[in-house]
């Protein structure tokens, strides 16, 4: 006789948590689902927070995600969070002291922005992750004559810099210790093209530069660089990466070195009743080299939730059907100024062998990234024609066998 599996608790109420709840229903789970999230809002779509919404072109309300009808009976516990998990006992504890027993657990607690710890005032320094963050930053960028320093030339930093220019701020400078913007995901060829495009549109760069501290008494007035020079600043945006929200999982013998490690089925700690989704999950991708990585692309919450929900529902329904290993084709995009970056595959795995497949880095360009001579990813930079070009390689990237094969 099988024990009743009880309730599934989803820890985290952003895109990954929502998709997990919906996909559990799609996978045939008819039992109770409780989603716990620390923000007061129902799940919302984050990408426009650094772009359209920050620019004031779309209202904050437009970000709301609409749960599917099949998930209408899901219980939402918002404005509270899971502070501890006892996986052996199958319970989680919330910050109000209540304890929830579970039959299944979905880890969907995501990331939070990393903050700089160097000395100086905190007021005037912003991050961009939540609705509240974007609201506060928008108010400051709208002040006439604002001088903006963006620390970190990754996705968020480059998008915010472009948005700030579009809003007509007095000046925008992007600081990064690396020699080019977005050189990690893009490699040198496109990163150089990206830098040129930003500069042509009014963004300044301080590259190869570290931040030593912040000037100002009550609020920030400048950013002190490692060489002692100072960039005057009315508004500072810190976009220096993120930290996984995994503290609540400590004490369970899990690998929490960078997010939470999962197996190839997104299961956590060898427990069939615990799965992880979204950017907190460090999973091996069977399509590539099998190395477990966290992936912060927008497509990941939906892709992981679809797979993890099937794995979890199948186990709790007593079927334990072995699914093929999780092997998503990564994709990302980034809108900056009047151009778009569009990627399919895993360009970061082929950064040492980048070839122009179409166009010209000074104009619309499509770059191919190769590992062992084989195409592993494409990135388009430019307008519609370039991104359509990238899409044409998607099917080829999907067909290829794993790098380990």
């Amino acid at each position: 006789m099988t024990e009743l599996p009880g309730r599934i608790v989803v820890a985290g109420a952003s895109l990954g948590g929502l998709r997990a709840a919906e996909q559990l229903r799609a996978a045939g789970w008819t039992g109770a689902v409780t989603v716990v999230g620390d923000e007061p809002h129902m799940p919302y779509n984050r990408p426009p927070l650094s772009k359209e919404v920050l620019a004031g072109k779309a209202p904050f309300e437009s970000l709301a995600l609409t749960p599917k009808p099949a998930a209408a009976d899901v219980e939402w516990r918002l404005g509270t969070k899971v502070v501890e998990a006892r996986l052996a006992e199958r319970t989680v504890e919330l910050d109000d002291g209540s304890v929830l027993p579970y039959g299944g657990l979905v880890v969907a607690t995501g990331m939070r922005p990393r903050r700089l710890s160097c000395p100086g005032p905190l007021v005037g320094r912003h991050t961009v992750r939540t609705l509240a963050d974007a609201r506060a930053l928008r108010d400051e960028l709208a002040r006439p004559g604002a001088r903006v320093v963006v620390i970190g030339a990754g996705f968020i930093g480059c998008e915010v810099a472009a948005t700030a220019v579009g809003l007509g701020v007095r000046e925008v400078t992007v600081v990064d210790p690396l020699p080019l913007p977005m050189v990690g995901p893009l490699g040198e060829l496109l990163a150089r093209a990206l830098r040129t495009r930003h500069e042509q549109r009014g963004v300044r760069f301080a590259l190869g530069a570290t931040v030593a501290g912040f000037e100002g008494d009550d609020r920030v007035t400048g950013v002190v660089l490692g060489d002692g020079s100072v960039l005057a600043a009315d508004v500072v945006v810190e976009s220096v990466g993120s930290v996984a929200n995994v503290e609540w999982l400590r004490g369970n013998g899990l690998d929490l070195a960078d997010g939470v490690l999962t197996d190839e089925q997104l299961r956590v700690g060898g427990r069939p009743e615990v799965v992880a989704v979204g950017d907190v999950a460090r999973f091996p991708n069977a399509r590539y080299d099998g190395v477990a990585r966290r992936v912060e692309h927008w497509s990941v919450p939906s892709d992981t939730a679809r797979h993890a929900a099937r794995v979890l529902a199948s186990h709790l329904n007593g079927a334990d059907a072995e699914l093929p290993p999780f092997a998503p084709l990564p994709t990302f995009w980034s809108d900056q100024h009047d151009f778009r970056l569009q990627s399919f595959g895993a360009p970061a795995l082929g950064r040492d062998d980048v070839r122009v497949l179409d166009g010209d880095p000074a104009d619309d360009v499509l770059a191919g990234y190769h590992a062992d001579g084989r195409l592993v990813g494409v990135v388009a930079l430019g307008g519609q024609a370039a991104t359509r070009g990238a899409a044409r390689y998607r099917a080829q990237l999907l067909r290829q066998p794993a790098l380990t094969a």
Binding site: L65, S299, S302, D335, T387, A391
Partner: protein, 62 residues
């Protein structure tokens, strides 16, 4: 099943075309075209198309 795309939100990413090529396509100018009343048999792929839309511009009614 009725499909509604908020064309004010749509930015022609084309992710829906990959998920549901029977219902969504890009025209010669790279703009989205779609079948507003697809067969119910296509529900799974249309739901996936709605999920993967970066702007969350696709709504399924009925």
């Amino acid at each position: 099943m009725k499909v509604v795309v908020d064309m004010n939100k749509c930015q022609d990413h084309g992710q829906c075309v990959f998920a549901s090529p029977d219902v969504f396509s890009m025209d010669d100018d790279g703009h989205l075209a779609y079948v507003p009343d697809p067969d119910d048999a296509l529900r799974d792929e249309v739901e996936e198309a709605a999920d993967v839309c970066p702007l969350q511009a696709i709504r399924i009614e009925g």
